[in-house]
């Protein structure tokens, strides 16, 4: 019973990972890309790991997969937070259609919203 269910989780995880990579290519600037990458990769990778747990059950491998799910969920948002914060402080441009940037406003720096199309 659990083995086909495991395959469902693994396949769904792979699909979400693929969509995340597509977002990485299609989205216009670093910050939007980071959003796509973080969310899809978290759920995709957790899906794959959870699928492995369902297939192997409470074995050495399955438990390791479960522990890895916990670490991925805690650490991926932190990594994306650190990367995007560093980019903002170092002035990586926001997309030209960005509505507002209260972070740079509060820091008192010059606007880093892009004025022309990067392409």
């Amino acid at each position: 019973m659990t083995e086909p269910l495991g395959w469902v989780f693994i396949i769904a995880g792979v699909i979400f990972n693929v969509l995340g990579c597509l977002g990485l290519v299609r989205f216009p600037d670093l910050y939007n890309r980071m959003q796509a990458a973080t969310k899809s990769v978290t759920l995709g990778t957790c899906g794959i790991l959870f699928g492995i747990f369902l297939q192997t059950g409470f074995s050495a491998l399955g438990i390791k997969a479960l522990v890895a799910v916990l670490f991925v969920v805690i650490n991926l948002p932190v990594a994306s937070h650190a990367l995007s914060r560093g980019s903002l402080i170092n002035g990586v441009k926001l997309w030209k259609k960005t509505i507002k940037d209260e972070f740079t406003e509060d820091r008192g720096g010059a606007s880093i919203i892009d004025t022309e199309d990067p392409e």
Partner: protein, 164 residues
Amino acid sequence: MRAGRVIFYWLGAMAVWLLLTWTVHWQSLVVGALVTLIAALAFGQQLPVMPLRLFNPRRWFWLLVYIPVFAWQCFKANLDVAMRVLSPGLQLRPGIVRMKTSLKTDIARTFLANSITLTPGTMTVEIKEDVLYIHWIDVQSEDPEKAARIIKGPFEKLLARIFD
């Protein structure tokens, strides 16, 4: 309280070690106890949780409520990203907005920031004291209070019950 934190860290690290090795062979246990003791002595002081708070069952209950809520929001976030990625003309209205939180402890704020990052269209880029800066892929409201309500969703109340 210092020794309490170290001991608590030691037990927690030992539990993770047992889960990762998944054996009770005595050699593995001895090595695990030594390694986790060194880790606990080195990092135990930085443990962000008060060990005493862990024995309050009400917090555990709300943690159990939090997990399915979080999983559902995370799933919705992915459908949201999928829709945006697959839609032909990119429907994005991004912006960075500021938001206040009423959570007091660092660990609660960390979890709020993480939860926000994994929910639809929002990503925390900076925390300063009780102000969070959030990159929002589709700014639905420019009014700060309404925006904060949309961004926080159900998380702030739950996290206040778990950690504060």
